[in-house]
């Protein structure tokens, strides 16, 4: 059924359709509406699971640690400071190999206070062992959340489904909401074989010595790498069931491109418009949207890379002292190629600053010169 939904509402509908057993959540702008919509969906009987209205984000993720260890399918949503407050728990639940699914609504981290979108919150958590999916539309938020449960449960790794604050979270778009029976066929109930059970006394998360600790960490990394394939498998299953297809990256008019824009999130839709505008002016522009950032799709970006075709990475987050996060990751992925192209970074769209067609066109025009001088530039919207 087609509905007009915000990104937040699409996320809540996905959790309800996924027959989640336990939600634990705490309000934070701009993710609050996910918590509110779930409460409405519970009241109207669409969400049949339990809902713990905890007193903090740290407790939200702690409660999900408990619930998922007891074998429940679990969900929460947060943003920015809330995600940062969960930090130690994020490491814990991936180490515990729990298939928790969380929506993060991108918002800048303070200080100073800022309510608007950039990717500094989610990218600060890139080393926590969570899969990361960056969405570019509200339909994709719903679809990715549904897929995330299946992917997480198959790999026993938690998933973070990410959307831009306000740009997606508060913008209404038509969304195809599948029926509960259709979803149930795609996503059968979760059965955790080693769930906490008084009939099977065992200790979970007890002190591990260096040798076994290293083995567990290595297994986690192996499964992260395996995830690239699993995500594609489950995406095909999803396409078969619902007719919509998603990859690890999304190339746009890259065939004969002389330089490639590279970004994640809703700005990637603007990027397609910028590519079209440049093409209309006779410029051979192309772009690549990063959809899955953890695990990083190294081989997919290598396959698109051609010698002499520079990449222009639009970073909405940076690591102070070492620069744009996706620029560094792309450089690391391409560097082993014998004739690797240059990668130039552009810091833009911080704290909700607009990433416009004009700004992206300017970035592309700069990148195509392939000057190979400095690796990073700070961009501001000229308006």
């Amino acid at each position: 059924m087609r509905k007009v939904l915000t990104g937040n509402q699409a996320a809540a509908w996905a959790a309800a359709l996924a027959s989640v057993d336990v939600v634990a959540a705490y309000p934070i702008t701009p993710a609050t509406q996910v918590c509110e919509t779930l409460a409405e969906l519970q009241a109207s009987g669409h969400y049949k699971g339990r809902y713990v209205k905890v007193e903090s984000e740290h407790s939200a993720m702690s409660a999900l640690l408990g619930a998922a260890s007891a074998g429940a399918r679990t969900f929460t949503a947060t943003s920015s400071q809330g995600l940062a407050y969960m930090h130690e728990m994020l490491h814990w639940v991936s180490g515990a190999r729990l298939p928790i699914v969380m929506v993060d609504v991108n918002r800048a981290l303070a200080a100073p206070w800022n309510l608007w979108s950039d990717q500094s919150d989610s990218l600060s958590q890139r080393d926590t062992g969570w899969l990361q999916f960056y969405c570019a539309s509200n339909q994709e938020v719903l679809d990715t959340t549904l897929m995330a449960f299946k992917i997480s449960e198959r790999l026993r790794l938690p998933s973070m489904v990410i959307m831009d604050g306000f740009t997606l979270s508060h913008t209404y778009e038509p969304v195809d909401v599948p029926g509960a029976e259709e979803v149930a066929r795609f996503l059968p109930p979760w059965r955790e074989p080693s769930a906490l059970d008084p009939k099977r006394p065992a200790a979970y998360g007890a002190l591990a010595l260096p040798k076994e600790f290293t083995r567990l960490r290595r297994r986690l990394e192996n499964d992260m790498q395996r995830a690239l394939e699993t995500i594609l498998e489950i995406s095909s299953e999803f396409e078969e069931a619902f007719g919509r297809s998603y990859g690890l990256i999304e190339p746009y008019r890259v065939g004969d491109a002389e330089a490639l824009l590279f970004c994640a999130g809703a700005a990637a839709s603007t990027m397609q418009e910028a590519v079209d505008a440049l093409r209309a002016r006779g410029k051979a522009a192309g772009g690549v949207r990063l959809r899955v950032a953890r695990p990083f799709p190294t081989y997919s970006v290598r396959a698109l890379s051609r010698p002499g075709v520079p990449w222009a990475v639009v970073d909405r987050a940076f690591s102070p002292g070492s620069g744009g996060v996706f620029r560094q990751e792309l450089e690391a992925a391409l560097y082993p190629l014998s004739r690797h192209p240059s990668v130039r970074g552009y810091i833009a769209g911080l704290g909700g600053a607009d990433v416009t067609v004009e700004l992206l066109s300017e970035i592309w025009e700069d990148a195509v010169l392939d000057r190979k001088d400095s690796t990073e530039a700070w961009m501001e919207d000229a308006r």
């Binding site: 057993d21 336990v22 634990a24 699971g49 339990r50 713990v52 209205k53 905890v54 007193e55 903090s56 740290h58 407790s59 939200a60 993720m61 702690s62 409660a63 999900l64 640690l65 408990g66 619930a67 998922a68 260890s69 007891a70 074998g71 429940a72 679990t74 130690e88 728990m89 814990w92 769930a195 906490l196 059970d197 008084p198 099977r200 006394p201 065992a202 200790a203 979970y204 998360g205 007890a206 002190l207 591990a208 010595l209 076994e212």
Partner: protein, 293 residues
């Protein structure tokens, strides 16, 4: 066998859910507390243990000294994790397992207080147990909110200058379904309280005073004596509160002078006669209040 020993044997369940081979220090009251608590709770129990001595005592990796499931959890979130376990179990159709958060005083009085308050406020169907050894013992004896005034710790070399935080009042202010104090010298009382807590639905809290030989600086064989003296001097009154109804479990008058409890504990070696008199006066005032309650 004496008459008393026979009675005790009858009143304390025989099944052992804690095994030998745990890694506690000699004379550890936290192991006595766990052993008796599990006798009261029975095997249909799941423990959530945040960072505390019991993180280590439960055993490393595949070995465990407990015959009930244990979910280890980060320091600040014992109560929230426990309520998550409860919701998870109920969602899978298990309504009967008792879920217990088992935390030290650091994890309760200090870093875990927010999570504890949230769970108590929501009347979550869990039992929260604080085994209170009155300092961060697992990290090597640093002051916590549970450390009494005058006690030496590694971070209060001159003796703690602040009184022990009144956690019991904080917890009671959340209107828990059941609240109790216990200490292992009064084993039957402790077992009875855990049996009772198991039967209550909603938020339950038990604080156990848990003497600690290396932290309190006394000889390991004196653990039960200090556990007993804490009650006999009125420093640690045994009582319970069911839905707001207060009941003293042991008369507070007559009581022994607190100097008997303080003597022999190295952590109190630096106390002046004035300080001892002050502690006695505080105990007398508190006991008078409880007797009128």
């Amino acid at each position: 066998m004496s008459e008393t020993a026979r009675a005790a044997k009858k009143s304390i369940p025989e099944p052992e859910l804690m095994s030998a081979g745990h890694t506690a220090c000699q004379g550890c009251a936290a192991t006595l507390s766990m052993r008796y608590a599990l006798k009261g709770l029975g095997s249909e129990t799941i423990l959530v243990i945040p960072a505390c001595c019991w993180t280590v005592l439960a055993g490393a990796s595949k070995r465990t000294s407990l015959s009930v499931p244990v979910l280890h959890a980060p320091f600040a979130g014992a109560a929230a994790t426990a309520c998550g376990v409860k919701h998870g179990l109920v969602s899978r159709g298990d309504d009967s397992t008792t879920v217990v958060a088992w935390a030290g005083d650091g994890g309760t009085f200090d870093i875990g207080l927010q999570s504890l308050s949230g769970a108590a406020d929501r009347n979550e169907d869990i039992l929260y147990v604080c085994y209170d050894n009155e300092a961060y013992m697992n990290t090597g004896i640093q002051r916590s909110g549970g450390t009494p005034r005058g006690a030496w710790t590694m971070t209060t070399p001159e003796g703690a200058d602040r009184p022990k935080k009144d956690l019991d009042a904080i917890v009671e202010a959340h209107h828990p379904r059941y609240f109790a104090t216990a200490t292992p010298a009064f084993a039957e009382d402790l077992v009875r309280k855990f049996k009772k807590a198991r039967e209550v639905k909603g938020f339950r809290f038990i604080r156990i005073l848990s003497p600690c030989p290396p932290g309190w600086k006394y000889d390991p064989e004196a653990t039960v004596r200090y556990s007993r003296l804490a009650v006999q001097t009125g420093l640690f009154p045994l009582y319970e509160v069911e839905d707001g109804n207060f009941r003293l479990n042991r008369a507070l008058t007559p009581r022994r002078p607190v100097s008997e409890y303080l003597a022999g504990q190295g952590r109190y070696r630096g106390l002046s006669a004035d300080s001892v008199a002050r502690i006695q006066a505080e105990i007398d005032a508190r006991c008078a209040g409880l007797e009128k309650r």
